[in-house]
């Protein structure tokens, strides 16, 4: 059986002022994921290691970590792909660390709510009129953005969020765009009011790494630029035709 050195960032606030790396020599099998190696450390070497994980199949978005400096889902990253080692595992960048590899994600949860990621209707039609129908083309308009699993890898890849934690961030804007582009939704203006603030879409300088690291190919960077374009068109419309509704 092969083995690899795994450097894990440890932070135990009750005994340490600063985090430090602890090295584990982990035996691994073919086709092991990085998460398998971390689980091996927890099960066989040091049960006090703290981290999040759940589904093990790239759906829940819980096991995002920095592996060799890149934000990845550890359940979807082969150990073989990060060899020869040592493999450095750290908590997601840009978030406060609670313990070891566990970050405090409340900031993201608050921001997500601010963009109202749900269908907003000015008036609901009566149930008797049936469901809101949608064509396959209308579904395609937003489907890409609906694939977001809230794993926050895009936040960890975004230097703007790291430099200015007020920035509302890639996933929140992509999810706002997901609902804006939904033919059943009527909440575009409400979301624009939130995202046109100083901490909204204009904070993005289009580094583009959020789209590179996204495990679901959501392309948050593209969503943000589209949002900027929409906002610019809105502004010109309101300036040139003030009598027209946005």
């Amino acid at each position: 059986m092969n083995s690899v050195a795994v450097e894990v960032l440890r932070y135990r606030p009750e005994t340490e002022e600063e985090p430090s790396f602890e090295v584990f020599d982990v035996p691994y099998e073919d086709n092991w994921m990085v998460l398998d190696a971390i689980n091996h450390i927890k099960d066989q070497m040091d049960g006090t290691l703290s981290y999040r994980w759940a589904c093990r199949m790239g759906v829940c978005g819980s096991c995002g970590m920095m592996v060799n400096g890149k934000p990845v889902l550890t359940c979807a990253t082969y150990v073989e792909d990060v060899l020869p080692g040592p493999v450095r595992v750290e908590p997601l960048r840009g978030f406060p660390v609670v313990r070891d590899l566990v970050t405090d994600i409340r900031d993201f949860m608050v921001k997500l709510q601010r963009v109202k990621p749900w269908i907003i209707r000015e008036e609901e039609k009566p149930l008797a009129e049936g469901e809101y129908l949608q064509t396959p083309e209308e579904l395609q308009d937003y489907k890409q953005y609906s694939m977001c699993i809230n794993c926050m890898l895009c936040y960890a890849a975004c230097p703007i969020y790291e430099l200015d934690p007020e920035f509302i961030g890639p996933a929140a804007i992509a999810l706002a765009q997901r609902y804006n582009l939904d033919s059943r939704d009527q909440g575009r203006e409400e979301r624009m009011d939130v995202l046109s603030q100083h901490d909204g879409m204009w904070g993005c300088t289009f580094v583009g790494d959020c789209s590179v690291v996204c495990p679901k190919k959501v392309d948050p960077a593209g969503a943000i630029q589209r949002y900027k374009l929409d906002a610019t068109v809105d502004w010109f419309r309101s300036a040139l035709m003030p009598w027209r509704k946005r």
Partner: protein
């Protein structure tokens, strides 16, 4: 042996660690470096735009002023600088044009124009405009 307790730790009051952002954060990856180069080259774009305005201004001042400017522009050091300027302008233009398909979604009726067409379209417009400018200069000469 149990480790000594951290004096600043208070039980049930989480003490988060927030990593300080290093001043050279942008050398972490090739994509960050490319991004910074793209942003910095906008200064050269501003210089090129300013130079164009100065040329128009010199033309307005008469033949002598324009000749003085041309004389300065033909100095070897200035020519060398402007070759570097051209390289930065090309880098700025190419990096931005390559990003356009991500930002621009075009529709013709129900048909979504493919990203490749948006990309090629921008380069085609750039090429046509450049050829028009070259034609104007050659025509004047």
């Amino acid at each position: 042996m149990a480790k000594a307790l951290n004096a600043s730790y208070r039980r049930y009051h989480p003490k988060w660690h927030r990593e300080r952002v290093p001043i050279f954060w942008w050398v972490r990856s090739a994509s960050y470096i490319k991004f910074m180069c793209r942003e910095l080259t906008s200064l050269f774009v501003a210089y090129a735009a300013g130079l164009l305005l100065v040329q128009v201004w010199a033309l307005g001042q008469g033949a002598a002023a324009h000749a003085r400017l041309l004389n300065w522009l033909s100095h070897p050091a200035v020519v060398t600088g402007h070759v570097v300027l051209l390289a930065t302008l090309l880098f700025h233009t190419v990096t931005w044009l390559n990003l356009t398909p991500q930002a621009l979604v075009l529709r013709l009726g129900r048909w979504r124009v493919p990203k490749a067409v948006v990309w090629v379209g921008h380069y085609a417009v750039w090429l046509v405009l450049s050829l028009v400018i070259v034609w104007l200069f050659v025509g004047v000469a």
